[in-house]
Amino acid sequence: MDKTNAPQFINEIADIIEADPQALSLESDFRESADFWSSLVGFALLTFLEDQYGQVLSVDEFIECKTVGDLYARAHGKGE
């Protein structure tokens, strides 16, 4: 999978979860890395994937995502 725009993606995720982008990587657990976790933050991530990448995730698919890399894969249409 092409990861050339991974740094930009990481910055965008950092913005949504209000985390320090320098401290975030594709391996980071995004729920743990969030300044605080709430259903609104989760919803904002889902909206981001839908609006920016056209990927609509089900609740179960989102629950399966643990890392920023998982979100990145989903954004590019790749499951698991």
């Binding site: 300044d35 259903s39 933050v41 909206t47």
Partner: protein, 352 residues
């Protein structure tokens, strides 16, 4: 959006009054949230909120704010020609708050007084309707915006227990020869009327013997049917999908770029949601004042509370190019591009 322009009115003064009783969310929410309480407080952005003690209402708070404002402005109550009271927690179903407020403030009987039933979009609606009234009656008008939602919030419902504060505010609008226009925009989506609702107690579902019973609802919340029910996700979805677009279209229509704004004055709904709106508009967060952390969400009163708590010195001397917007129950969005200041601002006072 539906657009409207009003000119010939001055924003002459504003004052806010909150209950002296401050509730600390870490303490009050400890039992409901357990070890999640810190996360829950961060998620709403509300650390403390002001709550009326029994017997105090939004009318008391708003009238107190108005008296303080009138002490500091060179005007006699008998010169005021109208009162517009924005609230969804009036003292009574009948009569309205505005009539009683007019009497308590010593206005002459030659005045027009009415309430407007609006929630979080209410202050900007109040500026619009109040400006139209003031111009039309050719006399100063008091816009009172106040709420005591604490009486209709369940302490056992995680979606609302930490959020709402009580407040009452007074804004003086005076006709002027100014050519400056206040440029408004409105959007209303009544299809989502039930995502932010007090289900029982009025005509559709009259108050009955079960209205005061706490029940567990499908969303997991424990509430009485007369308590506020909020579908937080639906409201968040509506706000982030509609508010930035509406505000952008208002700015574009009036040839205003985000960089030209001094202030983004948003209804204090939820700190995370407000930040998301500001980011989508590409407006730096230091232009968005916040009072939610200390005063909670007091519905239509949050914008004037924020002016009084965060901008008291700023608005004293010079104008600030402001984009002001409220959004919430209805569902409803209101927004205005206007200059804020110079004006009289005694700040936030406490009751009693």
């Amino acid at each position: 959006m539906r657009f409207s322009s009003v000119k010939g009115v001055n924003f002459s003064g504003v004052c806010a009054c909150v209950p002296a009783n401050a509730v600390d969310n870490m303490t009050s929410g400890a039992e409901l949230f357990g070890e999640d309480i810190e996360n829950a407080v961060k998620a709403t952005g509300v650390r403390t909120r002001r709550v009326c003690t029994p017997g105090t209402t939004a009318l008391d708070l708003s009238v107190t704010a108005a008296k303080k404002l009138l002490e500091n402005y060179p005007i006699s109550p008998s010169d005021i020609g109208g009162v517009l009271f924005v609230t969804q927690t009036p003292d009574h179903d009948m009569p309205n708050n505005a009539s009683r407020a007019a009497h308590l403030l010593g206005l002459s009987t030659a005045c027009a007084a009415t309430d407007a039933s609006l929630a979080c979009s209410g202050y900007v609606y109040g500026l619009w309707l109040g400006a139209l009234m003031a111009r039309s009656i050719e006399a100063p008008l008091l816009l009172l915006a106040g709420e005591n939602h604490s009486y209709s919030t369940s302490p056992y419902d995680r979606s609302t227990a930490l959020l709402f504060g009580d407040a009452g505010t007074a804004t003086l609008l005076t006709p002027s020869a100014s050519e400056e226009e206040w440029r408004f925009g409105f959007l209303t989506d009544g299809s989502q009327y039930d995502v932010l609702i007090v289900p029982e107690g009025r005509a559709r579902h009259p108050f009955n013997e079960r209205s005061l019973e706490y029940e567990t609802w499908p969303d997991g919340g424990v509430r009485r049917p007369i308590d506020i029910r909020m579908d937080g996700m639906a409201v968040f979805n509506f706000v982030v999908r509609n508010v930035p677009g509406c505000l952008s279209s208002l700015m574009e229509r009036n040839g205003v770029a985000p960089e030209e704004l001094d202030l983004l004055l948003l209804h204090q709904a939820n700190l995370y949601m407000m930040k998301q709106v500001a980011k989508k508009l590409k407006i730096p967060l230091d232009k968005m004042p916040v009072s939610l952390d200390r005063y909670g969400n007091s519905s239509s009163a949050t914008i004037p509370v924020t002016i009084c708590s965060e901008l008291q010195k700023n608005v004293a001397d010079k104008p600030h190019r402001a984009l002001v917007s409220g959004f919430g129950a209805g569902l409803s969005i209101s927004a205005v591009l206007m200059n804020l200041g110079p004006c009289v601002c005694p700040g936030v006072i406490e009751y009693p």
